[in-house]
Amino acid sequence: MSVGTRRLGHLWPRTAKSRRAVTGYLFILPFILGFLLWFLVPALTAVWLTFFDWNMIRDPVYVGLENFREIFRDKLFVQSLKATAYYTLGSVPVSLVLAFLIALLLNTKVRGIAVFRTIFYLPSIVPAVANAVLWNFVFNTEFGLVNALLRALGLPKIMWFQDPKWAMPALIIMSLWGLGYTVVIYLAGLQGIPEVLYEAAEIDGAGRWAKLRHVTIPLVSPVIFFNLIMGIIGSFQVFTAGFLITAGGPQNATLFYVLYTYRTGIQYFDMGYAAVLAWILFFIILGLTLLVFRYVGRLVYYEDVG
């Protein structure tokens, strides 16, 4: 700061300690400003919005708690919660287990393992829009891949995205294609288990199952827990597939919560109510995370350090 010292000599603090403090704050200044501008201001705006009826054209009208009362009359709100819960319950447990099994397979030293790892990971980085376009066609009733396979097996075709019963299962299957990210996180956890523990277990006469049950699973349980929480948080925020492929339909069967919030705010310009919906999502995710911490967290095994 030699240049600064000369030019702004009277502003620059004299003691080394306070100089370091100023330097430190100068370094993190971008974050502090960003936090205030793009985090705190929107968060406070979101609180303010909940008490107003505002379509961004007329002046905002103070309505007190009316936006909150609206929740109890809103059938679409309930439907969007149901759809999102269905999606979460359908996709998170299956992907959690399936990704774990795949990670176990990928944590071996068989031939071509690097190629296999790549193949399982790649779908998870496919852009959401391209993903939606592709799977829209894969599940196409007349010309899609899935129905062609069903027909080859002699099964009747399914109107995947036109049938309220089948639209959500199709989106869940589609989401499973992207489990590679979860697999890689598991894999990092599996590779962190010291080989010594397996050797010790073998000396004690442990077989494959016993080693999995008493060494692998306890030691990766923090990672399983992490993936569970990230899975819940992520699945409550799905948007693109429901927006592009099904547009929330048929009969609102795939009206995801975020899609409903987007519609309320960005398409119908009901900003106050949309802000209420966003806050409710925040508290749902927070509540679920705390519940998971409370009831699943105690099953997690943390290695003693020291």
Binding site: R20, F27, A148, I229, F239, L281
Partner: protein, 302 residues
């Protein structure tokens, strides 16, 4: 190998049962089983990619044929040209690259600066502010979608690139700060101390000594920034969807998809999707190890 052991087991001769016992206990059978399961899984994962690729090379008529042809004959490469030109994808690409470059510069510069401050300088309140960094990671991004949109519309930023670029200059994202901080902390302090004795300023140490050493971590951030900006749909949808000249590739593809009123041109859509996926796959193969590093860090924080 798996089929071999099956045929053996059906015979059930005592001598063969011994052989099975040896195989089951042996590493060999497990390896074969693992390999077979991986192969089946890999085929399932690859099938949609294969479907995408073959469909993108089919004629309009071949798309509708049953059973589906896996090798289009003859392949119609013209689909790619048509998909590229029926919509101005060249302009979309230019817009995306513009946003991408600004984000890379902003995030690498700003996140590394903050990360260095958190990792290497002691100042009062540091732990508090780092706690703030971590807590912003906990808030789901969607919660701020509505108020942020309201604010950006009030200040006239809708239909400009500003909402998709300017915020990146302010800290560059909590996760990136976290990742780079972990890296800066792992670097030895002797070099910095020596430079400090020689009268080098803290900013000089950061820019001339630490940044060059942090190249692997910066590459990880750069790769994830690329993927994030290239794949982003919600951002462009919120702020650019009213002005077709400002579309990104993601937004352009989404609009291209919904443009068909009568018969959907799946051949062209598959070609356009392939073109959108291709850069991501290329980046992945070029920067594979940075991907793994980034994911390992994100997993460790749990």
């Amino acid at each position: 190998m798996a089929t071999q052991s099956e045929t053996v087991s059906t015979r059930r001769a005592p001598r063969d049962r011994l052989v099975i016992g040896r195989l089951i206990n042996g590493e060999r059978l497990w390896r074969v089983l693992t390999w077979a399961l991986l192969l089946v899984g890999a085929c399932v994962m690859l099938l949609p990619f294969l479907w995408l690729l073959t469909s993108s090379l089919k004629t309009q008529l071949a798309v509708f044929r049953y059973p589906p042809q896996w090798i289009p004959n003859p392949p119609r490469f013209q689909n790619y040209v048509e998909a590229w030109t029926t919509r101005p994808f060249g302009i979309y690409l230019r817009n995306t690259v513009f946003i991408l470059i600004l984000n890379e510069v902003a995030i690498l510069g700003s996140a590394s600066l903050c990360a260095y401050g958190f990792a290497r300088i002691d100042f009062p309140g540091k732990n508090f502010w780092f706690g703030v960094v971590l807590s912003t990671m906990m808030l789901p991004g969607v919660v701020l979608m509505i108020p942020t949109f309201v604010i950006f519309s009030r200040i006239g930023w809708v239909n400009t690139y500003l909402p998709l670029t300017v915020p990146a200059f302010f800290g560059g994202g909590a996760f990136n700060i976290f990742l780079l901080r972990q890296f800066f902390r792992s670097l030895p302090g002797e070099l910095a101390d020596a430079a400090r004795v020689d009268g080098c300023s803290e900013f000089g140490i950061y820019s001339r000594i630490m940044l060059p050493l942090a190249k692997p971590a910066l590459a990880t951030v750069a790769v994830f920034t690329f993927i994030g900006a290239w794949n982003d749909y919600m951002g462009p949808l919120l702020y650019l969807s009213k002005d077709p000249n400002k579309y990104t590739v993601a937004l352009g593809l989404a609009m291209f998809r919904s443009a068909f009123l009568g018969r959907t041109r799946w051949d062209l859509l598959m070609a356009a999707s392939t073109m959108m996926i291709l850069p991501i796959i290329v980046i992945f193969f070029l920067a594979q190890r940075y991907f793994i590093q980034g994911i390992a860090v994100s997993g460790l924080k749990g």
